[in-house]
Assembly symmetry: C2
Homo-oligomer: 337 residues x 2
């Protein structure tokens, strides 16, 4: 055994888990941002015809998943396994979407690292020969996240400048054992890293060390060259977390600055859209990967990409109990040579 | 591909994912029940030296995982991947335990189906050649669950007789690509099933159709004989849910009554312990499997077992929004011939 492991933590895909389609659904604010021409669906409001934001979020993730399957010219009944999760207590949106989709369902929780976690597990299932079609996806919604993690929106609380803006968006990635398209080559599962940050309005600083740990592990395991990538994209570290990640990696001898971006900086215009340090939420890396990175991989404008979705594993209860914020990051390396 | 799939939904393990050890940690009430001589650790109180119940639950899952690794005479650093989750918002106990264990971590959420979900994903990772040592585990705690899902304990609310008692307990299962012990042969991942039950105090009735769907799918896929099993154990359906499951399966032509039990009926003495319909919670099937079923597999008193952990994917928010309860069940078939 161990033939699929490279170094300590990186797993090599031996067959060809191929990303055959992706889809994205976003809210109105995201639909006014720099990627407005890339999304599949831009909602005119944040309720999507539902009575509550949580039900709207569930419908968004369901729509993103249905769209990904349609784009690959498959049916929902062709999909053998589904990985989904989100930020909301008991992953309410993903669980309710899975009920409608009627696909065997594995609920996952990685906070904002969920997109990469879903891609890692889908790749394992497909590469291991357990399924030919695995679907994964995730969502976040500004209104569901704010009222659960912070304050009721009606209060109109102001945020410190280190805060980020939770993306209203859902993204889905459809992975197959065959077909044309970008291939998943390596995955690196994250460890929980906690450097003692307590401030839920400074997630970038909290999550950066987790991103550094995973990115460093990948390069240590594979001896790969950062500059062989067209893009290394973290999930939602924002402007502050991105700077910290770059600096910490440089201190450990790895310079990714020429190819590095953060999805939280791609989805919003930080100067115009009043989002402080940038976008965040599960939907951030999910929609940026699905709408912006994947099409460029498909057209070979990008030939090699690392997606490192980053998650803060705090809960409102742990915060009230004065605990620090444990964080995690999972990496997926995708090539279309 | 598809060589590892049997029928529509069942996956066959081709190599030998072996359960090399298990461990269990329970609270005082569980320690007075019928399995009191089987658990590894019985806590004298429900705080385990911590300041809050959530931190106590986290320490319980951490202890169960450390014990399982110790029993297999391995070190935490030998473990290549960890699957964990629980009932608490943002899987606070499992995430904080994963921080201490420092093993690459995949957070999962399947409500009370988490033990079987973790065993399914661990088996896939090991059988697929991605890891030699995969650890999974889950926990629940009466006090954390009650205050999150129902009412503050201080209120002293009475429950209807259809209700169950959330187990205070954590269980862990350690799976390896080699070694002696019971082998995981088949897994069946559940679909979300929702028959319209709205009553959070009648989880057995809500979850029974999900158990039926998964058990039926396994027998349809494999053409296996129910009576070839020593035990088929659902997770936490309690006395009412067990009856419904038996009846619904019989209506579909499958009679499991001679070999069927529910972990919620094994862990408590229903006549003496005032638990209404029986035990529930992630920790129910986790501790009953770890402390009672696994040792009997090891000694070959049981040669073939199906564990079907069952989960109700509701959240307090979905309940307030008048939604019904989506449920799920995952099955693991284990043999030691």
């Amino acid at each position: 055994m161990r033939n699929k492991r490279i170094g300590k933590r990186t797993m090599k895909m031996e067959s060809t888990p191929t990303i055959i389609s992706t889809a994205s659904v976003v809210g109105p604010k995201e639909g006014q941002g720099p990627l407005k021409d890339e999304f599949d669906v831009i909602l005119p409001d944040d309720l999507y015809g539902e009575k509550t934001w949580e039900l709207a979020e569930s419908k968004m993730i369901q729509t993103a998943m249905e769209l990904a399957v349609q784009k690959a010219e498959k049916k929902l009944s062709d999909v053998e396994i589904l990985f989904g999760g989100d930020l909301i207590n008991q992953i309410f949106p993903a669980s309710f979407a899975a009920r409608e989709l009627a696909i065997p369902f594995c609920g996952i929780y990685g906070a904002c690292s969920t997109m990469a976690l879903g891609m890692c597990l889908s790749s394992i299932v497909v590469d291991g020969g357990f399924a030919d079609y695995a679907l994964c996806g995730t969502s976040s919604h500004y209104c569901t996240a704010e009222r659960q993690f912070r304050f009721p929106l009606e209060l109109g609380n102001q945020k410190p400048m280190t805060a980020q803006w939770t993306v209203t968006g859902a993204g889905s990635v459809f992975i197959s054992s065959s077909g044309n398209g970008p291939k998943i080559k390596y995955i690196t599962i994250g460890k929980v890293v906690d450097k003692g940050i307590e401030d839920g309005n400074n997630m970038g600083a909290a999550m950066a060390p987790a991103a550094v740990d995973t990115i460093y592990s990948y390069f240590e395991d594979t001896k790969d060259d950062p500059n062989s990538f067209d893009v290394i994209a973290t999930g939602d570290l924002g402007s502050l977390g991105k700077k910290i990640t770059e600096d910490l990696l440089r201190q450990r001898g790895i310079d990714i600055s020429d190819v590095y971006t953060d999805c939280g900086l791609e989805i919003f215009d930080l100067k115009e859209q009043d989002v402080h340090c940038g976008g965040s939420g599960c939907g951030c890396s999910a929609t940026v990967f699905s709408s912006y990175i994947y099409p460029k991989l498909l057209s070979k404008q990008f030939k090699k990409v690392m997606l490192v979705s980053t998650g803060a594993l705090l809960s409102p209860t742990s915060t009230l109990q004065k605990q620090t914020i444990p964080c995690i990051a999972h990496a997926v390396v995708i090539e279309n040579q």
